[in-house]
Assembly symmetry: C2
Homo-oligomer: 213 residues x 2
């Protein structure tokens, strides 16, 4: 067994991209793919692709390439999405509701198995295929759900509190859509999606409007 180092985060992010490509290729019943093909499709350097995979093993054959089905399965196993991962959602507002209806989430590798809110007007209402639950039941409900990943789509002011409740419910992996930095134990992994930050980076790259009216 070769000693393989820890994979950097950018590698993991690209793995998800490769997985999407392979999902597509599988659907089209492609048999093999080379690292050059991947570069062609994704813009990710072929050597990068091979190096990314090398953190986890050897999946290709020199002169041939990679078996589509084989690599698909390998990446699914690496990302732990061989079976759809159950996910909790807290915050059944516009954004939470949109995420639940998001086709790529509904179909693929993740399944939102419970939705919570603290708004009495929402609790008990139907949202897609789920009934919105009182966030007070988070811990109790997750004893049966046993989800390990959660999505936070509550307003910024409520996010820290919700995050702590999630940790109490056994969640150690959080996708945070609220525009705040969560302070949580070091073993909790948080990834943040910040639309305003994304727009700000785009805005920076706008041409200077010195000249002109």
């Amino acid at each position: 067994m070769p000693h393989r180092g820890r994979a950097p985060t950018p590698t993991l992010e690209r793995l998800a991209i490769y997985f999407a490509v392979l999902t597509d290729l599988k659907r089209r019943q492609a048999v093999t793919i080379s690292s050059a093909d991947v570069e062609e499709r994704t813009g990710i350097n072929a050597a990068q692709f091979r190096k990314d995979l090398s953190y986890f093993g050897e999946f290709g054959r020199p002169g041939i390439g990679y078996g589509v089905d084989e690599l698909y399965s390998a990446i699914a196993r690496i990302l732990k999405i061989e079976q759809a991962q159950p996910v909790l959602l807290v915050g059944a507002g516009n954004l939470g509701s949109a995420l639940m209806g998001y086709p790529a989430l509904r179909a693929d590798s993740f399944r939102i198995v419970a939705a919570f809110d603290n708004n009495p007007g929402k609790i008990g209402e139907q949202l897609w295929d789920l009934t919105i639950r009182d966030v007070a039941y988070l811990i109790e409900d997750n004893k049966t759900c046993r989800a390990k990943i959660a999505i936070i789509t509550v307003p910024a002011a409520a996010a820290q509190d919700v995050a702590e409740q999630l940790v109490d419910a056994g969640i150690r992996n959080i996708l945070n859509f609220a525009p705040v930095a969560l302070k949580l134990p070091a073993d909790v992994i948080v990834r943040r999606v910040d639309f305003v930050q994304e727009l700000a980076v785009l805005s920076f790259h706008l041409p200077d409007s010195n000249s002109g009216r």
Copy 2:
């Protein structure tokens, strides 16, 4: 004028975080802040913060720190969000609608000034404060809006086509929520938000479930 290099993308992303912190400090009427304070609040290394700013000028005073109002204005200028930037949205589905209602987008530095869709059932409908327009009028409408940034929230299959129409309408900066890699001219800047990718990275970090229940 000191020669300052191009700021790396991570620097720009952090600039947006600093701006959020300063917005908060300004509201609380704080007068000055030190790089150590920023580290305390954001987890971003104090030297990193100073280095990030150094790409754009000198904004602090040794022994004192940074004036909150001054730095807020400086970053707003750097990110070109002194006035709210107009933004186009294409795809008035669940996600697009949620983004339009997103508090941080409604209030702050960006303003969605037009929403488009190609669904005849939606065109003409009211969505928040806007009337949904036929995507066919994109080019024409943007002659008056003059937005330079657009958000794509259409299904994956439609995204490439929409992106090309946006480019034809003069847009050079795109925030893409569709899970596809857009192929566009090199001068068009695309940032992609991929929920499934984010979840995949979290899923990877789950503890191995070798040992059974």
